[in-house]
Amino acid sequence: MKNSLKAMMLGGAVTGMLSASAAPVHASSLHNGAQLGQAALSSSMMAQDTDKHSCKGKNDCKGKGGCKAGDNGCKGKNSCKGKGGCATDGSKKH
């Protein structure tokens, strides 16, 4: 790359950074209107879920229904009901 072009590009990069608004980007501006370079006109952003992984490793997933209908993840999930599987003392009745 020619030195003059290189210098123009670096100048462009710094100018681009300095001209960036200090205001936070709003979610609505992340969709079709926002693009990186000028060639990225066809790009779009799609919002995904917000809490899918937020419960991993924490205790706040209680009651969110880890078992989904239609899959095999819940096979036998009720097999311990009333059988005392969770008792620490084998003599305890539930």
Binding site: L36, M46, Q48, G57
Partner: protein
């Protein structure tokens, strides 16, 4: 009862080994361990029976629940992969993967961390469209990382003003770059929307219909470059031009700013006279999004 620490640790390890031991093919607890010792005898040795269940049966409850939780978490993390390989193959893939890479972290978030490399080495599990399966697994893992990877302080205007040709920049750890030869992003969004629609429906008939539709989804062919990132606690997929993707990849690799800009246009069809404007626009956006940061010492 008092138990000293070494004895408690040994008991905990024994229980963990028993609970984490793989199930049989029909999802029951194994009768024999890997050394052909009776698991019933092992259970009798440290678990009390009660009036309804033997020691073996009581242990089996925990052994099965452990694996059902892993299966459930894995299925939740990779619905797109499941839609590509189909439900039956996905079950086989999941069991083989979890056998090769059992959970070794305190959090199930990391359960699929080795899936892409494992699937790349065990391509038969991704058949018939293994490349699409690997791409989908990679996108779904990128989604997990984008959701909860670290956010560092973004580059400031003062720091930007001091940059020169030899400066180095880092990218936010939550920004994941991704490329594929098919539109797995559209396919994954369709799977998630179908799944969300199914769970929102009261009618089981509708839900089943949507699940069937999901299984038949295949990504459309075509090269894509993506930035998978987080904004205000939501994960977004942004399609990138090749130049922008190459620029970000180069910055991520730690080369100088000058070299990264040069790398952006190595395979570009953009005319030379238009490149400075393209770069200005790209860096404006990167700065606005807060994707750039100063490298940590161990990044250099």
């Amino acid at each position: 009862m008092t138990t000293d620490a070494p004895e408690l640790l040994a008991l905990q390890r024994r229980m963990a080994a028993a609970v984490m031991r793989p199930l049989t093919r029909d999802e029951q607890m194994r009768r024999r361990d890997e050394n052909n010792r009776s698991i019933a005898d092992e259970a009798d040795d440290f678990i009390k029976p009660n009036d309804r269940l033997s020691s073996f049966e009581r242990l089996e409850i925990y052994n099965r629940q452990y694996w059902f939780r892993l299966f459930s978490s894995f299925e939740e993390d990779f619905p797109g992969l499941r839609s590509i390989v189909g439900t039956k193959r996905f079950e086989r893939l999941m069991r083989a993967y979890l056998h090769a890479h059992p959970s070794s972290s305190f959090t199930l978030r990391n359960l699929g961390s080795s899936l892409v490399s494992w699937l790349t080495e065990n391509r038969e599990y991704g058949a018939p469209d293994t490349d699409a399966a690997i791409a989908m697994a990679a996108l779904e893992w990128a989604h997990i990382e984008a959701f909860d990877n670290e956010q560092r302080p973004a580059l400031t205007a003062e720091e930007a003003a001091a940059l020169d040709d030899n400066s180095r920049l880092a990218l936010q750890p939550y920004l994941r770059l991704f490329e594929a030869s098919c539109a797995v992003d559209d396919a994954l969004i369709a799977v998630r929307e179908a799944s969300a629609g199914a769970s929102a429906q009261a009618s089981n008939a509708v839900a089943i219909h949507l699940v069937r539709r999901t299984r038949s989804l295949k990504p459309a062919p075509g090269q894509i470059y993506l930035a998978v990132h987080r904004h205000e606690d939501s994960v977004y997929y942004k399609r990138l031009a090749l130049e922008d993707y190459s620029l970000l990849r180069a910055l991520e690799s730690g080369v100088s700013l000058g070299d990264a800009i040069e790398a952006a246009f190595q395979q570009s069809a953009i005319a030379e006279e238009d490149r400075p404007a393209h770069i200005q626009s790209a860096f404006h956006y990167l700065m606005q999004m807060g994707w750039l940061c100063t490298p940590k010492e161990n990044d250099l």
